[in-house]
């Protein structure tokens, strides 16, 4: 789960990282009050979980509380890459002598956490990684030793730091690592970590991605849920234990297994269609869960056909069929549905669905082709109906 900048900075502050003073605000008046309390030049920053806030006008400097209020008024409610800004962070503006990047990531190939630093801070680090990977220095962290000072020192020298500031760098690296471990993050970064003309570090922009798998043991982070912007359908799916991702197309997908769900989307695309969603009902899904999933898909008005692809292993085809029946009898869907059931109890499943108004297919390729064709027919007939 991505955290908002202000949530990440609050966590970092607890680990002694030098975040600028500041508070989050939901209204222009609140923003003004924060600026008054801070009593300095501030920066007002849109709190949205996408990059490119600056370019979109979501980050503004304000010399006075009045200016902060105006900046907040301009930013709150704006849409950045489709996301509405509901909160701003009002924080002390830092003077910048230089900017560096410092981040902890999971290095999958090394099977370790890795601390990365670059003298090029404040820019897209992935862009730096592509353009000039030599500008990024990295150390892998042994899980049983944790980040050691000599490793952080190697990074400091690797990005050209010298003198007393290296001690501060070690402290920042240590705090970042402890935060990373103790909240079970999969990413924790400061970008930029600003070096001020006075030779102090300020963690100007902060980011944390939490490992969803570790939520069970981090009760202190429970209140951070609900703060995340997501598609309402994704939020609902999550509540039901379904893995759902909204996409741009019109063919709804209901599949068991993540890889098979992706493959189903891919095959739809291969035959010229566009998937409306990724949906994995999970292993061993019962009728209720399947019904819930189908309801969710059908609640999407863009959907003009549904592909149901089930490979029964632990999941039983008869259960799936019952779930489909339950949902369709309740909703009476206005769109065609193609089902392909293979594996455990497939005959029973097919029998249950025999009387329902469903198109069946023997293979994934066939099912996808049919779904694409039906979606096209429906779209064109819709176009004819509403000229």
């Amino acid at each position: 789960m991505n955290l908002q900048e202000y949530q990440a900075r609050d966590i970092f502050a607890r680990y002694g990282l030098p975040v600028p003073r500041g508070e989050v605000a939901s209204t222009p008046a609140e923003a003004r009050a924060v600026a008054e309390r801070l009593g300095t030049r501030v920066v007002v920053k849109a709190q949205v979980l996408v990059g490119g806030r600056g370019k979109a006008g979501g980050v503004r400097l304000a010399d006075t509380p009045q200016a902060a209020e105006e900046a907040a008024r301009a930013i709150l409610g704006m849409h950045i890459k489709g996301l509405k800004v509901r909160k701003v962070l009002v924080a002390e503006a830092a003077e910048i002598a230089s900017e560096i990047y410092l981040g902890l990531v999971i290095d999958r190939a090394a099977r370790r956490a890795a601390l990365m630093a670059s003298a090029e801070g404040g820019v897209d680090i992935e862009e730096v990684a592509r353009r000039s990977p030599e500008k990024i220095v990295k150390v892998n962290i042994h899980p049983f030793l944790g980040l050691r000072d000599y490793q952080a020192r190697e990074l400091a020298w690797g990005i050209g730091l010298e003198g007393e500031i290296i001690k501060d760098f070690l402290r920042v690296a240590d705090g970042l690592y402890r935060a990373f471990i103790e909240v079970d993050a999969s990413l924790a970064e400061i970008n930029p970590l600003v070096n001020t003309p006075q030779g102090r570090f300020v963690a100007v922009d902060t980011k944390i991605v939490l490992d969803d798998n570790a939520r069970f043991r981090r009760p202190q982070l429970a209140d951070l849920s609900g703060e995340v912007e997501e598609n309402p359908r994704e939020a609902e799916a999550r509540q039901h234990g379904l893995s759902y991702v909204a996409l741009g197309g019109d063919i709804g997908c209901l599949v068991n297994g993540a890889g098979l769900a992706m493959a189903s989307m891919d095959v739809i695309k291969l035959y010229g269609g566009e998937p409306a969603n990724f949906l994995d009902v999970g292993g061993g899904a019962g009728a209720d869960k399947v019904a819930t999933a189908l309801r969710l898909i059908l609640s999407d008005e863009r959907v003009s056909a549904v592909l149901i692809n089930i490979f029964g292993g632990i999941t039983r085809c008869d259960e799936v069929a019952r779930g489909i029946l339950e949902a369709t009898e309740e909703i009476r869907p206005r769109v065609p549905m193609v089902t392909r059931l293979v594996g455990t109890n497939e005959e029973e499943g097919r029998r249950i669905l025999a009387d329902a108004d469903l198109i069946t297919a023997a293979s994934l390729a066939e099912a996808a082709q049919k779904a694409v064709q039906l979606a096209r027919q429906r779209t064109s007939s819709n176009r004819e109906e509403s000229p």
């Binding site: 190939a109 798998n213 991702v245 493959a263």
Partner: protein, 288 residues
Amino acid sequence: MSILIDADSRVLVQGITGREGAFHTRQMLDYRTRVVAGVTPGRGGESVEGVPVFDTVRQAVAATGAHVSVIYVPAPFAPDALYEAADAGVGLIVCITEGIPILDMIRVRAYLDQRGVRLIGPNCPGLISPGRSKVGIIPGNICAPGPVGLVSRSGTLTYEVVYELTRVGIGQSTVVGIGGDPILGSDFIDILKLFEADPETRAVVLIGEIGGNDEERAAEFIAAQVSKPVVAFVAGRSAPAGKRMGHAGAIISGGSGTAAEKIAALERAGVPVARHPAEVAEWVGEST
């Protein structure tokens, strides 16, 4: 021959008294896997499906000579189960459990490497050597013995491909689901090495998906060290960036880990990449 498991493999089930553990113990026994012991702390002395249950892995190993363990315990307890199996001298651990925190798996992997223990998974369907033994949850009825080794990051997608292979008459030496998590016990290369060395395996199917660069590294390895024909499939050509697609490891982050990159890398290594699962079977048929 097959890789990793065969008809002589003596299998231990950790979490055998749980719903999943008990169900799949039955399934494995039905497939004639030699499930010799189960472990659930505090349930020693009971039995599940006729399999004796022990309190600790050490006791189970001492009493039954089990050397393969399959883990069905819930995520919060899975790391301990893994450490316990490693400490008790089990040589191969298959971890079915989904949802283990990444930082736990980093620690587990470091410890297991140090002890020289091989791990398959976590968050995987396990493995099957058709007609000999299955350890995990892969449905036995869709498999057939034969010359094709299969290694996959996926679960049901693997079944889909196996189903197509079997349907066109191509059997499998061993099918290995390595799992969908970012930190895995065994990666493509680990399994490819085994298939390359296995005289019975004559061709290999590799099923990848978005996220990480395991497929890219596998492609380099295949180009350099695999003499047998390999056919691949990569799921997620149509997946968007920044979204986790079900599996914890299936995410395109920072523009890397895309299906396009993986497919390009595999094709550069001379590995044909099928466009849909059934095509895998067709192409394997042509290559063998």
